[in-house]
């Protein structure tokens, strides 16, 4: 019994890490533009595919050893995914903002972009799924009946480090402060001598590159890629981000792990079909009693 609990805690940590990583991206973009970037889940998917191509290229074509490939994959994937994110912002979102469209229209556009990415990928690469090559042999350490793989540990570490990094950027740097300020009043940003678009682009670079990183880690842990892999996990990560307190990096991180834990634990001890039921009931209750999420600050109304 105790064994399986510990085992499941590990599972939950891994699963939660992915929610967290994706949620972080969501929350950055939201924090700046109040834009629920529904395409984020699919940017994550694109990240996974980019990782796939980069990896297979260096493995097959160049023939590098696994560890070297990873070393190259991480920066390349992050960079390329960031590129995708920024492109979306430039061609799809910015023009709308310029036209002063209601923010929900940008949200809907994001949704559409998500669909385009998913199905565009399907149309381009064909329907059959891809197997992500094994870069490092997964070693299963069996400690007293508890199976730990090197991958699990890596994933969890990556999630934590990313969080620490982003948290410092947002709360300590001027850029981070500009990011928070712009979400409240973008009108006054230029008056601070700051170029709003720079801030926005920077945010998308951050958000997307970490989606890319998540994609890579995900592809390594669940090595079967399909174009729709981002949709569902994206939605859930978004929900996690909000429950944590949307716009708050800390909240996104915590929310991700919360959701991960609830899901795994429910499945471990109840029929798996109760997972969504219980998980979402919990979230609903949290939001009803804490209307701005776990870490969100109440945006109070001055009248």
């Amino acid at each position: 019994m105790l064994e399986s609990i510990i085992q499941n805690i590990l599972n939950a940590l891994q699963w939660g890490s992915f929610y967290s990583l994706i949620a972080l991206g969501y929350c950055l973009v939201y924090g700046v533009l109040l834009l629920i970037n529904f395409a984020h889940g699919d940017i994550f998917m694109v990240g996974a595919y980019i990782a796939f191509f980069v990896a297979t290229f260096f493995l097959a074509a160049v023939g590098l050893p696994g560890w070297a490939v990873i070393a190259l994959c991480v920066p390349l994937t992050m960079a390329l995914t960031a590129l995708v994110g920024v492109t979306l912002e430039r061609v799809a979102y910015r023009p709308l903002r310029r036209k002063g469209a209601h923010r929900l229209y940008v949200v809907i556009t994001a949704l559409m972009c998500g669909l385009i990415l998913e199905n565009g990928n399907l149309a381009l690469l064909g329907a059959s799924r891809r197997l992500f090559p094994t870069l490092v042999e997964t070693q299963v350490f069996n400690i007293g009946g508890i199976a730990v793989t090197n991958l699990k540990i890596a994933v969890i570490l990556v999630a934590i480090l990313s969080f620490v990094f982003l948290e410092t950027v947002v709360s300590k740097t001027k850029m981070g402060m500009a990011m928070r300020a712009i979400s409240y009043d973008k009108f006054a940003i230029p008056l601070m001598g700051i170029a709003p678009d720079k801030v926005v682009v920077f945010t998308f670079i951050l958000g997307s590159s970490f989606a890319g990183l998540a994609g890579l880690m995900f592809a390594m842990s669940y090595p079967v890629l399909d174009p729709y892999m981002g949709a569902l996990i994206g939605w859930k990560a978004f929900i996690a981000a909000v429950v944590g307190g949307i716009g708050s990096v800390r909240g996104a991180f915590a929310g991700g792990f919360l959701l991960g834990f609830v899901e795994i634990m429910v499945v471990a001890f109840f029929p798996s079909t109760y997972r969504d039921l219980i998980a979402f009931t919990i979230l609903l209750v949290i939001l009803t009693y804490k209307p701005t999420g776990l870490f969100g600050v109440a945006r109070f109304q001055k009248i």
Partner: protein, 338 residues
């Protein structure tokens, strides 16, 4: 004369559908296209109450649709058809025709009550947090159904086609087409009346400045309940029709994706524009059918078109205006704003 222009128009439309469908001049496929169109109109118009007029961001419409769909399906199958789950029909199938509207309304009613899951948190929770609550509600409903194995769980529930057949046996008319038509008109009518009354404008006030609304004598909580229940009730109605048109329901058809589909229709039409919602629902349905041959490409083309459309009209097709504002001549026949 002008006073009756609208009723007459509706009547003619109705006649057209019934006759063409009954004579088979319109084949089943086209009938079903028009039925889905009607259902989409109901969904878009009802969601517009919340996302358009009240300015909230509800993304769980499909959940309420599901409730309506299941409740009315179970009821009608239980009452009027022989079935694996419920055994013999409880009533004489000939009654199906008469009682079907009642069955639909019961479905809608239950859905409306379910709407409270969202309405009550909405007192305190706003904006994107409420959005999550709606999504959660959607998942909860879906997952609840999945866990009731007696009604097929995740694999869905069937048998409604027997009920529709029963109706057609009693009087040989394309009944589902008729019911969908009536349902659609009913929805538009009720929402328009609600929204154009000073009472209903309370929710528009909430949208534009909730604090001012509360302080300037609008009982915001009550209005929210009314709005959410009306909206989800109508969604339930749509669900009931959907289930009987398809003759099969499964929780898989009521996911967030369905909800987002409805959202797209609302925003495409324009927040707070009835005629907008109607138009975009029609447009959307036709687009979906017209591009069927493209197979997977269709799902690239459609979003692409929508994105472009939003870039051309960043407020949706109609913005927050109605046809009568665009073609003032129509004012003779209908008055929207007053």
């Amino acid at each position: 004369m002008q006073k009756f222009a609208v009723p007459i128009f509706v009547g003619l439309l109705f006649g057209f559908f019934v006759v063409t469908a009954a004579t088979g001049a319109m084949n089943l496929y086209w009938q079903s296209v028009f039925m889905f169109m009607g259902i989409n109109i109901i969904l878009a118009v009802s969601l517009n109450i919340i996302n358009g007029y009240m300015g909230e961001f509800a993304c769980g419409h499909a959940g309420f649709m599901a409730v309506g769909a299941y409740v009315s399906s179970l009821l009608s199958v239980m009452l009027f058809a022989k079935d694996k789950v419920f055994g013999e029909a409880l009533l004489n199938p000939d009654l199906a025709l008469v009682l079907f509207p009642v069955v639909l309304l019961v479905g809608a009613l239950v859905a409306a009550v379910t709407g409270l899951i969202v309405a009550i948190p909405s007192f305190k929770t706003r904006g994107d947090y409420l959005a999550i609550i709606t999504i959660a509600a959607n998942y909860i409903v879906k997952s609840t159904i999945e866990n009731i194995d007696a009604i097929g769980g995740a694999r869905g529930f069937m048998g409604m086609s027997r009920v529709t057949k029963a109706m057609e046996k009693t009087v040989d008319l394309p009944w589902m087409t008729i019911w969908v038509f009536i349902g659609t008109i009913f929805t538009i009518w009720i929402v328009w009346r609600f929204i154009s009354s000073t009472y209903g404008k309370g929710i528009i006030a909430i949208c534009q400045d909730e604090i001012a609304a509360e302080i300037m004598s609008v009982n915001t909580n009550k209005m929210k309940i009314v709005a959410f229940m009306l909206s989800s009730g109508l969604a339930g109605l749509a669900g009931g029709l959907f289930a009987h048109v398809l003759g099969y329901v499964n929780p898989g058809s009521f996911t967030i994706l369905k909800s987002t589909e409805v959202m797209v229709m609302v925003y495409l039409g324009g927040m707070g524009s009835l005629s907008g919602s109607v138009m975009s629902a029609i447009l959307f349905t036709l687009l979906l059918e017209a591009l069927r041959p493209l197979q997977i490409i269709k799902w690239v083309v459609i979003p692409l078109m929508l994105v472009l459309l939003m870039h051309m009209r960043p407020e949706g097709i109609m913005g927050n205006r109605e046809l009568t504002d665009v073609f003032p001549r129509l004012k003779k026949f209908v008055s929207f704003k007053k």
